[in-house]
Symmetry: C2
Subunit: 645 residues, 2 copies
């Protein structure tokens, strides 16, 4: 099969995949839109419908009380909209274009700013790989910073900021459910600021203070705005991208859609293989979430993998190439300074960051200071012209428990603090990357030092893994650390898949990693006391207690898995209304007995009775309880004895 035929075939597979998405939305779910005040602000959420609760009555005339639907944050963009006409060859609707135009501070670019981009465009042989539609490219007018930070500091509330405020405001979105729900447990947020209602003004303040970023390249108008900051919901990033030994463009687009279906708030394209430029274009044009990259990877690819041959000029051209495509944040390893490299000499696992090891090699080969550090201000000048956020890379993060919190790691963190301030001086948004492998007792120190050195800029960690002994399960070893550091204030968690340390993740791994990290992030939201976070837990537990099995499944992070696990041992339809499952069977189900107990206990009203009356009342109630025991079953389970399996 020719390469072209190959591509067409895999592209057809990707399109079929999208149709499957739209045809198989999450169960009992519909897309709802909450409108803002500013024009064009329409925030999509997923609304999960619930069955009513049986609250009394008789078998022939049961009494029901409705359960308010539950709305949850939704990262899947138009892909979960059954009516949306999606064509991956055209990309997603550019929902931010009007907002960008109206700001009047950008202009269309008529030629490529990057030499490499131009070369790629003129290369006929790449025709079949190219994204098929032409895209507008913009750039800031001369001397202007077009970043959300710049606007925020000037007191401007952009439509993006309002969008985000609505998105984060789980309480308001769930007003009906919240009224029914009990008061959430107060959180322990270690000094964070979590207002009961998140307003657009609050968002602006947070961005202006540098405590949050809203990554949104003017050339990525397709994104649904989102915010990364300690005082907002903890976010999760998924990594995709090919390598020299694996994967194709279409597989990467599929992984993108798959990751966002499972809740990825941003996605990093970490490709290190072939056609990095083309792969990225397809990804960005079809991504409803911000896209991050490590430009150094592509730069290294351009010099044939020889780190010593990297240069500032080549890197600069790569930044512009990616900026024009619409990358929303760059990981820049400007903290790997020459003097720090020898500090890693005695480590067990040296430098585990790809970017970090590349820069370290360059520094040593030239015996010069890291050119990213040297040219940092020039990098800022590029980024402020497109509103690309920094993700200041932790090139010297620890790759083993033994290396955690060592001199090299914190020397770099100090430098990242210095660079944070320099970026802010240029009105560029900044977040700071973090570890890695850290045993639990050392996690808090990481958070505290980062808050101090980086003046509360958002922290973005990879895990951390809390032990090294379980390759194959590092989504789990790291979810333990991620939940904790999220609780302590980390703003975004970069997921880890079961393939970590072993190979490139496939789609299953992406899902496993995503679910593990949505769990960690949500556990952190609960622990911090993010208003409204507990609504979903409460709704699911209520459904569980009432044996509304479908509702329990539908409210969960992975309804299909919950349902299929249940059905493995109790597949009949009657199982879905059964007041037990195969764990304990009908006689031992504590929830079933518990309902009987509750109904009885609630009926005891003894406060107004004297001792003798109480005694008599008790005997009477006890007798009633024994007699009524059999009739306290809810639902149509008269035929439910021990089911035949």
């Amino acid at each position: 099969m020719s390469e072209n035929q190959n591509r067409r075939a895999t592209r057809a597979a990707a399109e079929q995949f999208i149709q499957q998405f739209q045809g198989q939305p999450y169960p009992a779910s519909r897309k709802v839109y909450i409108e803002g005040e500013l024009p064009g602000v329409k925030v999509g959420m997923r609304e999960i419908e619930l069955q009513p609760s049986l609250i009394g009555g008789t078998k022939d005339n049961p009494l029901f009380a409705p359960n308010a639907p539950v709305r949850v944050y939704d990262t899947s963009g138009p892909y979960s909209c059954p009516d949306a006409q999606i064509d991956i060859r055209k990309g997603l609707p550019a929902l931010r274009t009007d907002w960008i135009k109206q700001r009047g501070d950008t202009e269309l670019v008529t030629d490529f700013g990057s030499v490499y981009s131009k070369e790629q465009w003129l290369d006929e042989s790449l025709q079949s790989l190219r994204f098929e539609s032409l895209t507008e490219r913009r750039k800031a007018k001369a001397g202007v910073a077009v970043t959300q930070l710049a606007y925020a500091r000037r007191g401007i509330i952009t439509p993006e900021m309002e969008y985000v405020a609505i998105r984060e405001n789980l309480s308001r979105a769930n007003m009906a459910a919240a009224t029914e729900a009990r008061t959430q447990h107060p959180g322990q947020s270690f000094g964070a600021n979590l207002p009961k209602q998140i307003t657009a003004e609050f968002v602006r303040q947070e961005i202006a203070a540098g405590r949050a970023i809203l990554p949104a390249n003017i050339n990525h108008p397709e994104i649904e705005p989102m915010i990364i900051g300690r005082n907002f919901l903890v976010k999760v990033n998924a990594n995709i991208g090919n390598s020299a030994v694996s994967s194709s463009i279409e597989e990467e687009v599929e992984k993108l859609l798959w990751a966002t279906r499972w809740g990825a708030d941003t996605v990093m394209d970490l490709s290190t293989g072939r056609y990095i430029h083309q792969t990225r274009e397809w990804i960005i044009r079809n991504s409803p979430v911000p896209i991050g990259t490590v430009p150094l990877y592509q730069a290294l690819e351009k010099v044939g993998g020889i780190a010593e041959d990297l240069s500032w000029e080549l890197f600069r051209d790569t930044l512009i190439e990616q900026a024009e495509q619409g990358v929303d944040y760059f990981t820049i390893h400007a903290g790997v300074r020459l003097a720090y490299v020898p500090m890693t000499a005695k480590r067990v696992t040296g430098i585990v960051s790809r970017g970090g090891s590349i820069m370290a090699k360059w520094c040593l080969a030239h015996h010069k200071e890291n050119f990213l550090y040297q040219h940092f201000d020039a990098i800022c000048d590029i980024m402020r012209a497109y509103d690309i956020s920094f993700s200041l890379g932790d090139g010297l993060r620890p790759g083993s428990i033994a290396d955690a919190n060592d001199e090299a790691q914190f020397a770099e963190l100090k430098t990242l603090g210095e660079l944070t301030h320099r970026a802010w001086a240029k009105e560029v948004q900044v977040m700071v990357e973090g570890p890695g492998h850290v045993p639990m007792q050392l996690i808090r120190e990481n958070m505290q030092l980062q808050l101090e050195y980086c003046a509360e800029a958002p922290f973005y960690t990879l895990g951390p893994l809390t032990t090294d002994i379980a390759p194959g399960y590092d989504h789990l070893t790291s979810a333990i650390g991620a939940a904790q550091i999220g609780w302590y204030g980390c703003a975004m968690l970069c997921y880890v898949t079961p393939k970590e340390h072993l190979g490139l993740p496939d789609k299953n791994d992406v899902k496993e990693g995503m679910i593990a990290y949505k769990i960690a992030a949500h556990a952190a939201d609960l622990a911090k006391g993010h208003p409204g976070a507990q609504i979903r837990d409460d709704a699911l537990s209520k459904a569980r207690f009432e044996f509304r099995w479908q509702d329990q499944f539908n409210l969960s992070l992975d309804p299909e898995r919950a349902r299929s696990y249940h059905d493995q041992t109790l597949p009949q339809e009657s199982g879905k209304v059964a007041h037990f499952c195969s764990m304990c069977g009908p006689k031992f189900c504590s929830m079933k007995i518990s309902q009987d107990v509750r109904d009885y206990a609630a009926s005891i009203e003894v406060k107004q009775l004297d001792a003798a009356q109480q005694q008599a009342e008790m005997q009477k109630k006890a007798q009633q309880f024994r007699q009524s025991g059999a009739e306290l079953y809810h639902g149509s389970d008269s035929q439910l004895e021990e089911p035949q399996l």
Copy 2:
């Protein structure tokens, strides 16, 4: 197929399963025995052999340094001993019998102490289910307590205590590895006492103080002694047991062996279905780890599932029946007091403990105080005669985030504290059960209150789950909480499988739950600073850095999975010496680049040079580095370009 034929067939399957175990030990592993001073004390551990490290030399004359093998704690008993003659119809060797006899404080029982046991024995129809060998039964001589607690208080160091001291002493077992290893990170143990060398005397003190228990029924002489306590390695319990709608005796024996293969320190048999008595006998006779039960389940089965028909007399008979079989600890829900039951009325998920809901129902139906509470001293009198430990049940634990740390839960905990002292007064060993579902910010309070109310008796929690929203993944939602509470001082963690809330776990679920919990327990050991805990992490990371892939796999918790995940994208044998994997490919592997960097950085010796000399030295080194780059590969990878996949 007749029932008998059915049983023989499934028994043959179980035997085949055992042979598979013995035929397929963990890779690169052998069983080693460390002898104690007291006669018969021989502690088995698993020793993992490692490849040597290439440290220099030339391609024709490479120079190697050996890597000391790593010894790890082993719960699989004789099943991992290739020479052991195992016949599940005969059970395991009774390694403790001489120790028990020599204490001279027990006597053989010639008749059944339990009416039920006698009935079962006389029932011909149960012949085919019965464990096939006759077993000695013992009981304490009149008035004597034969518990490890009683001995410890009298200053006696039993062989069991010495056994345990050797088992826990990872540093001493790994003396060779420990000398090579770097200093472990100091832990934060929140006031625990973790001596560098664990002695038998230390063990005795901990047991005497009630801070640790050594569960070891005199009728379960087959166990390899183990200890549960805050100042020891965090332990993990696995649950097995059939239910009315699932599983057979042989499947349960297989689950036992499977769980101990994956590291279960104790196993609870929570059967609620048919042939509970017979199932338990097969399990105990073949178990190298302590076995726990909830006697209330079987008692309920005996009254046809009608909780109101339970009585103290029936329960007492059940205790004796199980005591004579050799159950090592009983979960007793004596804290579910009548006055507490109404406190659960407003909960979201009521009472989720099976035993708790059963006792609550009984209390309300009779309007009487919990008969387990009323007869607690009599229960102690039985348990002290066999050395059965209490696991004081948390019948009122929270089953949802909303219910965490509520009035009912802590009222019960206070009562468990009172009962702890009452049991100690009778010289009965005690551990205390705990939650459940607890958001992270509320976990620490649980540990602190339990330490206070229960005078540091060991805590034994179920998770806790840190969010309710992920049925299907509750091994993960709870591993997050379990790691934390283990760090804070919890002594044993009861595992949770992916099937939690959905159905009875199968073998795969048992494994997934076990790995998740071994991770949580080990993360806690590292965080507490248990001496020697970091040796395995360091050895694995060192192997990873040196691309000793087989060693990395072999040191991991699940070598087969690590290997197969790696091989999914890089299956050739050359992949096992490759200095990269499919995650990044050969050009981008940070570990490979990192080795180059390290070798160079370590070679810089500039301290004695002046500025000009330094400059010249640097240029020379830089040139050397560039020239030598290609020759710094280790291993036979001259043929490793980009592999053909």
